[in-house]
């Protein structure tokens, strides 16, 4: 029964995709929305049952849904693996996904492409579920590509906006670069193990040489960097904000971007063999966390700030994986899903309330006008800043403490700085959006209204989760969450114990101080003395513009990579047009020439021959005509000549047996 449910989990959204995609135009948007949401709801229910079963039996389940490729050296099945890690991911994906689907019914109300939106969202759910539930690299990759595709479709949802189309293409292309690395890793795995199944690969992982393990791990990391928007493949995520806000919440906060972290956690057996790779992961994560936080300090679009925040928080998760704290990373993944979804959806509520305005310089004073949204957004901010005892505090603190305890002091410093900046810019965002004098224009101000219940309801649930979502991971490194995940992510590794309680508490205290310091700074600059912010930016104009322009990374990529690639494309186009088309045209011209030759031959040679025969006939006739002169003595002469020849031949023949001119003896 449980096996059937496991297979059913991705099937529910798939059915919704087929229904809404093929027949969606025949029924109303209401019905389409209900089909979509209930499919995800059913998947969530099934996931709960599977989770309960996992809690009960603690057994890892492998279910083969379809025997796909078999025979010979290669066996790949469409099969699912349910272990604790997969369970957690399933719950996050289906749970948060369900809430966001409910929210979208309200947010996308009245849109013409309503059904199309939900078709793509359900398709995304199918792909993401395949990704987390797959028991081999092939199914993982199918899901991996699928979510990339849906990301493209959904970012470019407003397809008549040029900026949206460009952003969708950018997301897909940058993702693809990562996917190249991922494919290399899959090939290496197959080369080394002859199979793509997780259980077999991880069981034999110890046979890898360190160099091979490093290679595989780094290739996988490239894929993760592309999918999870780390340095240097992060540039697509801020631009992805062109898509509708629910898309940003689901795909670019809670689920797709976390696929990279999930993948690294899943492959921990390989990463554990390669200290080099793990250091790379940690460094990438740490630098991304810090880097993105600095950019987020000065952005003016509400969703952009949240986007850079997402990049930064993903950096934390990578950092956690890199130092071996896989459970902590997944813990942070879960809490981040809660409060980031909450923040994005609340921002969506703000945008909805303001009729489409997204620039925070034109907001302000909304606290009284949209109180529910304000409260929810505030809860989200508190959570992400790491204020005790909300969810973000526990997960972030655990990662930072793990770094400190294991003597990764540089990484700890980077993480701490990042936490300070995170707290600062999130409170900056809150103050500028909701507090202070209203900077809205009159027309917008008049139409400010609270969002409908269908949108607020899921937000309340998410807020609740943001508050209590940290407690499963308490106490750090020893909570229920870590113990539950232990078989998936720490099998084979020695347990780390022996950290004194005093150290743990002091580190927690430091984390809280950092969060409060950030809050205080933001409070000062944006609430107490608003003009101080502009003064500060005026004092360091170069730094300010650099940050504002995201360190000009996009422009650098354009110059180094995009333009040369475009030029190369033009070269190939020239090649295709001139040489290949020239060849084709040449063949055509050869055929033409052949046809001309045939015609010429027919006209001159064949007709010529016929004409020559006729002409020869004329000439011969002209000669032979002279025989008929009508004159008798001519005839007489001919008779004599003929007679003589005949007689001569006869006589000679009879006497000598040969034809001679003169008769001989």
């Amino acid at each position: 029964m449980t096996d059937l449910l496991i297979i059913a989990i991705p099937v529910f959204p798939l059915l919704a995709v087929l229904l809404n995609g093929l027949l969606g135009s025949r029924y109303s948007h209401d019905v389409a929305g209900r089909i979509a949401c209930s499919s995800v709801g059913l998947s969530f229910a099934a996931a709960l049952i599977v989770f309960a079963d996992q809690l009960q039996t603690g057994a890892v389940r492998e279910v083969v849904a379809y025997r796909w490729i078999f025979g010979g050296d290669l066996t790949i099945n469409l099969a699912f693996l349910i272990d604790p890690l997969a369970c957690i991911m399933l719950l996050i994906v289906t749970g948060v996904g369900f809430l966001i689907h409910l929210y979208s019914i309200g947010y996308m109300h009245g849109e013409e492409g309503f059904t199309r939106f939900f078709t793509y969202m359900n398709l995304f759910m199918v792909s993401m579920l395949l990704l987390v539930m797959g028991n081999n690299y092939a199914v993982l990759f199918i899901g991996w590509e699928g979510v990339g595709l849906c990301s493209y479709l959904l970012i470019g949802y407003y397809y008549d906006k040029v900026s949206a189309a460009k952003a969708a293409t950018k997301a897909f292309v940058v993702n693809r670069i990562g996917d190249a690395g991922f494919l290399l890793a899959i090939f290496l795995v197959f080369y080394n193990f002859g199979t793509l199944d997780y259980t077999q690969v991880f069981a034999k992982a110890g046979e890898l040489s360190p160099k091979m393990a490093t290679a595989i791990a780094l290739c996988l990391l490239i894929g993760a960097i592309g999918k999870s928007a780390q340095i240097p493949l992060y540039t697509w995520l801020p631009d992805a904000m062109e898509g509708p806000t629910p898309v940003s919440a689901l795909i670019h906060a809670a689920t797709m971007v976390t696929a990279g972290v999930y993948m690294i956690a899943r492959n921990h057996a390989i990463y554990d063999l390669s200290p080099v790779a793990m250091t790379t992961v940690a460094v990438v994560g740490g630098s991304t966390a810090l880097f993105a936080a600095t950019i987020g300090l000065v952005q003016t679009d509400i969703k952009r700030v949240l986007a850079y925040s997402t990049v930064s928080q993903l950096g934390y998760m990578f950092l956690g994986c890199g130092i071996g704290a896989y459970a902590a990373a997944i813990f942070h993944l879960m809490t981040h899903a809660f409060f980031k979804a909450l923040l994005f959806l609340s921002a969506g509520s703000v945008i909805h309330a303001l009729g489409g305005e997204q620039d925070i310089r034109r907001m302000g004073g909304l606290k009284s006008k949209i109180p529910w949204t304000h409260a929810l957004f505030l809860i989200g901010t508190l959570a992400i800043a790491g204020i005790f005892p909300l969810a973000g505090f526990w997960s972030k603190d655990e990662i930072m403490a793990h770094a400190f305890v294991h003597h990764h002091y540089v990484l700890y410093a980077m993480a701490a700085t990042g936490a300070l900046l995170t707290s600062f810019y999130m409170f900056r965002l809150t103050y500028l959006t909701f507090y202070g004098r209203s900077r809205m224009d009159h027309h917008t101000a008049e139409h400010v209204h609270e969002s409908p219940m269908i949108m607020i309801g899921p937000l309340v649930v998410l807020a609740g989760l943001s508050v209590i979502g940290g407690f499963p991971g308490v106490p750090p490194e020893n909570g229920w969450f870590q113990h539950f995940l232990h078989p998936s992510v720490a099998a084979g590794r020695a347990e780390e114990h022996g950290v004194s309680l005093g150290l743990v508490v002091s580190l927690m205290g430091v984390a809280t101080l950092i969060a409060l310091a950030g809050w205080g700074g933001a409070h000062y600059l944006y609430s107490v003395r608003p003009e101080a912010a502009d003064q500060l930016s005026a004092k360091a104009p170069a730094a300010y513009t650099t940050l504002l322009n995201k360190y000009y990374v996009d422009e650098l990529y354009d110059f180094l990579i995009v333009e040369p690639t475009k030029q190369l494309g033009l070269v190939w186009d020239w090649f295709d047009r001139t040489i290949i088309d020239g060849l084709v045209r040449g063949v055509g011209e050869m055929t033409e020439g052949g046809a001309w030759l045939s015609t010429w031959i027919e006209k001159h040679v064949i007709y010529g021959t016929i004409n020559v025969i006729g002409y020869a006939n004329h000439v011969a006739a002209r000669v032979w005509r002279k025989l008929q002169s009508g004159m008798v003595h001519h005839y007489a002469a001919l008779i004599v000549a003929g007679l003589f020849i005949l007689v001569h031949l006869i006589i000679v023949w009879w006497t000598t047996g040969s034809v001679g001119i003169v008769a001989l003896k």
Binding site: H633, A637, A641, F644, H648, I651, V662, A663, K665
Partner: protein, 173 residues
């Protein structure tokens, strides 16, 4: 003696023949023909064919040749400059070639044949005319009669052809 006469008769015959075909004036040709006929008659004498000699002289030379001369006189032809064909050289050459080949053929051929029943002494005893008469009116009677009819036809034909057309004939045309 016979070979001498033979040489004389044959040479003159041949010369006369050549003259007949090559002289310009038709009357001169007729006279040359006369010489030919007389010498051919001489050849007949050498061959013990006296009756034939007589017939040749009387009929051929005396009647036929005279007829030719009559017609020549009647027609009063003028001898024109061009009396030979345009391409006479070719024919001459071909004719000489034919002649040469025939002579060669003849001189090298062995002649033989069945002997008849009129050996020379028997003929000489009764005379040539007697021998011819005996044969003519017994074995060759039919051809003799036919030749007679033929001559009749020739006479009638000649008269009919050559008579002056009367007014009635003109109307018919």
């Amino acid at each position: 003696m016979v070979p001498v006469f033979f040489v004389y008769f044959s040479v003159v015959s041949i010369l006369a023949g050549i003259l007949t075909v090559s002289l310009r004036n038709p009357v001169h040709c007729g006279l040359a023909l006369l010489a030919l006929l007389m010498h051919v008659a001489g050849l007949f004498v050498l061959l013990n064919a006296e009756f034939l000699f007589a017939v040749q002289v009387i009929v051929y030379a005396g009647a036929i040749l005279v007829l030719y001369l009559f017609v020549l006189m009647l027609l009063n032809l003028k001898s024109d400059e061009r009396y030979l064909h345009t391409r006479y050289a070719v024919i001459l050459f071909a004719g000489v070639a034919i002649c040469g080949e025939l002579v060669l053929l003849v001189l090298r051929s062995p002649f033989g044949g069945a002997r008849g029943d009129a050996p020379a002494p028997a003929v000489l005893q009764d005379g040539n005319s007697y021998a011819i008469g005996i044969k003519m009116f017994s074995e060759y009677l039919l051809p003799f009669e036919i030749v007679g009819v033929f001559l009749l036809g020739a006479i009638i034909g000649a008269i009919v052809l050559a008579k002056t057309p009367t007014a009635a004939d003109m109307e018919q045309e």
